[in-house]
Amino acid sequence: MSILVTLFNILIFPGLLFVCVIGLILAGVDRKVLARMQKRVGPPLVQPFYDFFKLMGKETIVPHAANKAVYLAAPVVGFTSLVVMMLFIPIFGYSAFSGSADMIVIMYLLTIPAVALIVGGSASGSPYAGIGVSREMVTLMSYELPLVLVLLSVAKAAGGNALCFSLNDIVSWQQATGSGITHASLIPAALAMLLVIPAEVGTQPFDVAEAETEICEGPLIEYSGAPLAMFKLNTAMKMFIMTSLFTCLFLGGINTGIVALNAVILVAICILLTILCMTLIHAITARLKIEHLFKFYWIVVAGLAVCSLILVWLGL
């Protein structure tokens, strides 16, 4: 029976199926709302599903210069690490595998999809992919600094004088003392996290690595068929995972006691966050240059996060 529950957790909720479906819905919402903001009609909400299944049925071409095994394995590795990550992010106190969720582990798991994209793109042998790989790596370096500062701020706020890296403990701390966002010292960290999300997902203006208009989607340039579908799915899943990580860190104080209702609330919050920090910024800004992106994250965003860390340390 417990095996069945585990399998249910892994394959349906909150694992594979849930994260894929919600991720694709978020991608659909993003496209629809963006279109409305730009006074277009936009695609239907389920367009990402159509795209996914269409790509799945297309032929997959492995370029001559590519290393076949790495080229084909990269999207699947990224995909699995995203699914695994979702199993460890608590949904308002409910997590499939409690006890071993840890924010440093989550942070490193978050890098795996990026590394998969980098290695896969690199393995395709295209020079555009080479440039894209370089930019993706610099993007990763850019947002990793604010991300770790944000995580440490929350850990210090939640733990006090004890080490507290466990996401479950952070959620229960919030349920005892109010959501993270209600603590004044964590507000700069929350803002920084909101800015980390679009870079992690790779939406405009932080999509320098894929920059369709310059380097033709960079690492993805040679991909076609099922692997491309996986990468597109990964991006959609990242939207959901990053927004639910934000929810876990800063809005974890909500708990209705019913898992299904909590999940619905989570999805609603994630849709709002997607619109706020991805669609809106996408609609009103143009793509940054890579060196500007790096400076922005290391000075502005990291500065916000450092403020938060110092405030938390002073006990404010």
Partner: protein
Amino acid sequence: MSYIHFPVLAVMLLFMGAFLTVVFGRHNQGVRVGICTVTSVGAFALIAALIKPVMLGGEVISYWMGNWSPVEGYAIGIGYEVDQLGLFFALLVVATVLLSAIYSIKYMENDSSLDFYYVLFQMLAGGVLGLVLTGDVFNMFIMIEIMTFSAVGLTAFRNHKWGAVEAAFKYLIIGSIGSSMVLFGVAILYAQCHTLNMAQLSSILSGNNSPATIMAFALMFTGLAVKAFIVPFHAPAADSYAAAPTSISMVFSGMVNKAGVYGMIRLVYIIFRAMDSSALQMLMVVFGCVTMFVGVTMALAQHDFKRLLAFHSISQIGYVITAAGLGTALGLTGGLFHAMNHTLFKGLLFLCAGAVLKQAGTTNLDQLGGLSKRMPKTTICFLVGAFSISGLPPFNGFASKWLIYQAAFAKAVESGKIIYAFVTVIAVIVSVMTLASFIKVTQAAFFGQLPARLNDVQEAPTLMLVPMWIMSILCVLSGIFYNVVDKYLLAPATDAAINVTNYIDTMMGGGYAAAAGVRNIAIAPAEFSYWNPILWLVLFIVVLAAAFIVMITGKSDRGEILCAETDVEDGKYATFFSGEHSLPSHVAGSDLFWGFKKDWKKYFHVIEGLHSGIVSDYALWAVAASAVIVIVMFGFMR
């Protein structure tokens, strides 16, 4: 029991091997390889046989040379003493020696004067092994000297290359500065304490420092830091690791700089028992952070595969020093774990670089490319090593780095000092930069397009691949079964470093430590809330299976995977560059990370200017840094 002879036998076996190579191995390669194989396998077996009594049984082995045991409480003979900490490092040494000996057989086949190579190799191995097993500070100095001079000789082994001789010269100068400082420190200690035995020194010096012993401490600390190549003593490391034959580079980063790290841990945790001093903790943490940061940024600027790896060796040693400098059990456990992992993954990466150098003829990242088509097995090994050093789960680098982050942050929240929180931040950022520089190697050497002149490159020979496979497997296993490693290696070693009464009593007779007033420092044992990699791995496999099911079901009969079958030019399989698919257009090493380098160009300008390549500059840094260490210790110790 007979195993008390094993440590000294292992050391003697390696030195005897060097001697026999001189006598019998002048002309016959088979004899040389035979001797080297026997000694390295023998040393490995002798040391591995000690795991059971020492690591599992908790025994400390003491061995008095010529049976000169202590008289009236004073140790006058040279004693070998193997505690769990020493054995931990000894295991790293013999494993590295064995794998390097296997690798050398094929790798060095085209070099001449191989008798010198094998003599120096075995001298080096014996020196480092003696260093980690000895219980006598003057004997330790002698072993340091043997190690340094064999290392200098091996750096210059390919002396038809200008760079090798220059690197050896730098190593000689800076290494001698370090050795002299150790000797000076030992002399002061002998004058003050009238003994050279570590156990007795520990019981005399425990919380009982005079200005003279603080001076001795500072000098020995500096000398061993030179041997560990922490910044600013690191300059000869970068040159010599790059210039030495790769089988030796692996030995350098696997055990020679570990010997310095071991010496520092032995010095601060056991001989002087000074780890509760917050000034010393801060000193080590600052040096460690500077080391890891300077190492990794210099690595990002390199264009040569081996030189890049050399700077990463420096950087990773920074992690170990930082972790050991936190002065907590968790930190020391993380540091020791990282030292072990560094031996595994950096050895692996050096061996990959050696395979590339031997097969493709160069390690210049701007001239390589697309080697994964010709050397697929080397590529897989390299990726395992690169992911391990970058700390991606579930490889071993992740487990140890995760411990270090946790230890630094725990130190921060417990002591209330925000600076330790920034240590965690620096460690994470350095880890990401490490990833970046390995992405650079991946893209520049192994992926991308194959230049025409590398078309005939072959996969490395099996004898070279065997050590690489062994290390790759160990990298994965020690990441997944971290708790086995912790239980049998790390926890005993950490405990031995923190609780020294057993060490002293075994050497000097029961009750000696208590009589001298030595008590175990109350450092809380490491409490782990490790992640559970096995659970994660199972999940990963289940999800991987599910993903494949989705891929298969989502596929119609048109969704097939098409590959170019032969070398036929077909536009469908070409990679295009501005519409011209025939133009070679590889993105090489120096083309990457443009935005990052632009933002940091002032920093790179300064730091590259400081690495002037002039040995007197480096000597100046070394002296300046030792002055800083002396001042800090006089100002804030006690």
